[in-house]
């Protein structure tokens, strides 16, 4: 048996044709393996990124390729109160929503880190707001924020009697701004909580035991063990959260479309409004490009501000 199968087993090796040998040659194989991903990303990510920056310096509209106009678009934006309003709201929205998400998310993660019954079921349920399409849950929030049939108003006014009048959630600027931030926090908590929970579980219990022996209080244990050990993961999650909150589009577009009176426009929704329905592709691209400095700054800040120390990652001790 073995005598007959042995030659059959070595045969394909000897007869390997040039194609098989080519695919076994490491440089070519690496190139071929990277080709699909690199191709897709270069064509549909890198090129559009460059094209977007180029478009920002032209007066392109839909159906007409534009001419180079230099920094005219940006000069126009600097004088445009709507753009300044969008910049303000984007920063405000990102700031408040990030603080809210991380404060509540950290709290939820600390709660989940206790010994609880139905642990995995609980985690699965908590992730739901993050899984469900944002637009669809935004529509639910839109209905919750309805001026006449809001369930929150109903509870506060008719059931509990705390307020006298129904809240006009989306009818005027500031309530609309805070309503959107609340919806964003609601959506962001699960992701933050589950990621931070993963970080919490990597902290060795012996650190807490040592601290207990030293007579530490609960706050001290949180402040000097949990928080510093959580810092690296916190930095990564925060970078992501800030980037995707700042460039958020879905929630605002679904609930207010930038209204009332353009008070809740984020840069992304303003870029969309000017660029696609408005047809001013050049100007829309300029608004989109104007997000880049903010993003770079936020990334550098959260990355270098929070994740610099090596000892927190357990490598070396300098």
């Amino acid at each position: 048996m073995s005598a007959t199968t042995a030659p059959a087993w070595t045969k394909p090796q000897q007869q390997a044709n040039w194609l098989v040998r080519l695919f076994d040659w490491k440089p070519f194989l690496a190139f071929a393996c990277l080709l699909p991903a690199a191709g897709l990303l270069l064509v549909f990510l890198t090129y559009p990124l460059g094209l977007g920056i180029w478009l920002a310096f032209t007066d392109t509209t839909i159906g007409r390729s534009g001419y180079w106009v230099g920094i005219e678009n940006f000069q126009y934006l600097l004088e445009d109160p709507l753009w300044w309003n969008a910049v303000f709201y984007s920063v405000f929205y990102t700031g408040i929503a990030t603080i809210g998400k991380f404060a509540l998310g950290l709290w939820l993660a600390l709660l989940l880190n206790n010994h609880l019954p139905f642990k995995s079921l609980l985690r699965a349920i908590i992730l739901l707001p993050w899984i469900v399409p944002t637009v669809l849950s935004a529509i639910a929030f839109w209905w919750i924020y309805d001026p006449q049939f809001s369930i929150i108003s109903f509870l506060l006014v008719d059931k509990l009697g705390i307020l006298d009048n129904y809240i006009d959630f989306l009818g005027s600027a500031w309530p609309a701004r805070f309503s959107l931030i609340a919806a964003n926090i609601w959506r962001g908590i699960p992701f933050v909580a589950i990621s931070l929970l993963a970080g919490l579980q990597t902290i060795s219990p012996s650190l807490y035991e040592a601290a207990l022996l030293d007579g530490s209080t609960g706050w001290q244990r949180f402040r000097y063990i949990t928080f510093p050990m959580l810092m690296p993961i916190l930095a990564i999650v925060m970078t992501f959260s800030i980037i995707f909150t700042f460039t958020d589009f879905q929630l605002v577009y679904a609930i207010t479309r930038g209204g009332p009176v353009n008070s809740t426009h984020l840069l992304a929704t303003l870029a969309f409004q000017r660029g696609i329905p408005g047809g001013q592709l050049g100007e829309g691209a300029a608004i989109a490009v104007s997000m880049i400095p903010f993003l770079v700054f936020a990334t550098l800040f959260s990355y270098f501000g929070l994740a610099r120390r090596k000892w927190q990652q357990g490598e070396g001790n300098d």
Binding site: Q13, D24, K26, L29, A30, C33, L34, P36, A37, A38, L40, L41, F44, L45, L49, L51, G52, L55, L104, L108, R123, A124, I125, I126, L127, L128, I131, V132, P133, T134, V135, L136, S137, I139, A140, W143, I144, F149, I151, D158, I189, S195, A198, T202, I236, I243, F244, T247, Q250, Y253, L267, A271, F272, G275, I276, L281, A285, A288, M291, L295
Partner: protein
């Protein structure tokens, strides 16, 4: 400090039974207030919009707009009118099919591309492979909100405007970086010795990939697949910008642009549409929830 000082004395001074019981009760009550109560509040707030969505979807219109005579938190006489309206009077089934097709195709395309890329970066270890890895990671940080305008002009020039193919080709821009990143982490966990053994036995690199690495990486592939599927199902801005005709729209876009018409919103139908649109992802997710959570936390830890 004071607690620690009192604790050791307690069993000596009291009869042994009374004190621990009181302590246990105190502990329980404390746990109730500090853990279970806040947790219950979190759960209530996180789940309420879904509950409200469901309740609204099955309420008849009379109950929907009258909180005084009917209890708003319960359905007096459940009705399927909204869902029937959605399925038979609108193009909803068509939107579902389009969304499903786009999500499945984009998922397979990105899984194919990112598996190969992750294998090349993690296992072939050519010169500069870590820079390629870094570039792919950076690509994930480029948000779609910056790209949709230039992509719209590209899609238009390629003649793909208003076609689902435009979505299938552009979704990988955010799927590939994420999946590659996730799979690099997964490949790292597969012992390299297995591949070395196969190399000594005379297997070619492609044979190793197909017969050794991929079968071992199935859990990683599944979680990357789930992530891609949910992300493509949730995608909104590209679908809004590149698709114009009603029948090619995806569910999230169609609900917002086709069902919201006129001054009177049909909240029942809107909620039914949102509920039905969320169900496929939720069901899909519930089957693979363990993969999902573990890979999410794993990817963050990397």
């Amino acid at each position: 400090m004071t607690d620690a000082a009192v604790l050791p004395e307690a069993p000596q001074s009291n009869t042994a039974t009374a004190q621990p019981e009181a302590m246990a009760w105190d502990n329980k009550a404390r746990r109730m207030v500090t853990i279970y109560l806040p947790l219950a509040c979190f759960l209530l707030i996180l789940l309420f919009p879904f509950y409200w969505m469901t309740v609204t979807a099955f309420k008849p219109n009379a109950e929907l707009f009258d909180y005084k005579t009917y209890n708003p938190f319960w359905i007096g006489s459940p009705t399927l009118d909204h869902i029937k309206h959605l399925l038979f009077n609108t193009a909803y089934p068509h939107w579902l099919v389009t969304t499903m097709t786009v999500a499945v195709c984009a998922t397979f395309l990105s899984l194919f591309a990112s598996t190969l890329a992750a294998y090349a970066i993690q296992r072939l270890r050519f010169k500069g492979s870590q820079y390629v890895g870094l570039a792919i990671y950076l690509a994930y940080l480029v948000p779609p909100s910056i790209l949709f305008i230039p992509l719209a002009t590209m899609v238009f020039r390629l003649g793909l405007f208003d076609s689902p193919l435009a979505l299938i080709l552009t979704y990988p821009t955010f799927l590939v970086p994420f999946c590659t990143w996730l799979l690099i982490g997964y490949f790292k966990s597969i012992p390299y010795e297995l591949e070395e053994c196969a190399l000594i036995d005379g297997a070619t690199r492609l044979q190793i990939l197909r017969q050794i690495t991929l079968p071992l990486a199935v859990p990683g592939l599944i979680s990357a697949g789930i992530f891609s599927f949910t992300l493509s199902w949730n995608e909104f801005i590209y679908a809004l910008a590149f698709i114009q005709s009603s029948e090619n729209k995806t569910v999230p876009v169609a609900i917002l642009t086709e069902l919201v018409s006129g001054d009177v919103y049909q909240w029942g139908a809107l909620m039914a549409g949102s509920l039905l649109g969320s169900l496929p992802v939720a069901i899909f997710y519930s089957f693979f929830v363990d993969y999902y959570v573990s890979s999410l936390t794993g990817a963050v830890k990397e």
